[in-house]
């Protein structure tokens, strides 16, 4: 059966698991806080967050870090709900 990119339990691999810890960057802490607020305000629940992550193109998913996936999902879900306009974040950051 075809499995989606996130459904990777038991995938065979010869690559060792990276067990190294790293200090979280400020943007990662802020992303965690943002997603917490979105949940408490009823704008995005954890299942929507996961669905947003799972909707990433497989190559993007592979390359993204943990919190980059959260950001992708938050933008996806908030655009879907009309809270953000499509492209709004990019234009504000330009």
């Amino acid at each position: 059966m075809e499995r989606a990119v996130h459904d990777r339990g038991a995938w065979p691999t010869d690559t060792p698991i990276d067990r190294s810890e790293h200090e979280l960057a400020d943007w990662e802490l802020l992303t965690d806080a943002l997603v917490g607020v979105l949940g408490r305000e009823g704008l995005m629940n954890v299942d929507e967050l996961r669905r947003g992550i799972e909707s990433m193109p497989p190559d993007d998913y592979e390359q993204a870090s943990y919190y980059e996936r959260w950001l992708f999902a938050a933008e996806t879900i908030l655009v879907e709900k009309g809270v953000l306009e499509p492209g709004e974040l990019d234009s504000r950051l330009a």
Partner: protein, 92 residues
């Protein structure tokens, strides 16, 4: 509640396009009910803005290593336990 502690169950081996919490490596596999957690809203509809009702019973299902990884070196008494909603389980 359909299943009780110790019941043998098999995980449905079906494709599911949308969000779901049943990992591919247990689909079609046989295990036993180890815990009954109670009823929870369904993430498969909550992921799309739904209310997740009706609630589904969530179980902890444990699988023998032999069932999941027949060709891998393993400890015979170890088990892999996964939380699975009732609508993914079939009686054995």
């Amino acid at each position: 509640m359909t299943f009780e502690l110790g019941d043998r169950v098999r995980v449905a081996d079906r494709a599911h396009e949308g969000h779901h919490r049943t990992p591919g490596y247990v689909k079609g596999k046989s295990g036993r009910v180890e815990r009954v957690f109670g009823s929870f809203t369904n993430p498969e509809t909550r992921a799309y803005g739904g209310d997740g009702l009706p609630e589904q019973v969530l179980y902890q299902v444990c699988f023998d290593q032999e069932e999941l990884w027949p060709s891998t070196r393993r400890h015979a008494r170890d088990a892999t336990c996964v939380d699975i909603f009732e609508h993914w389980l079939e009686a054995e």
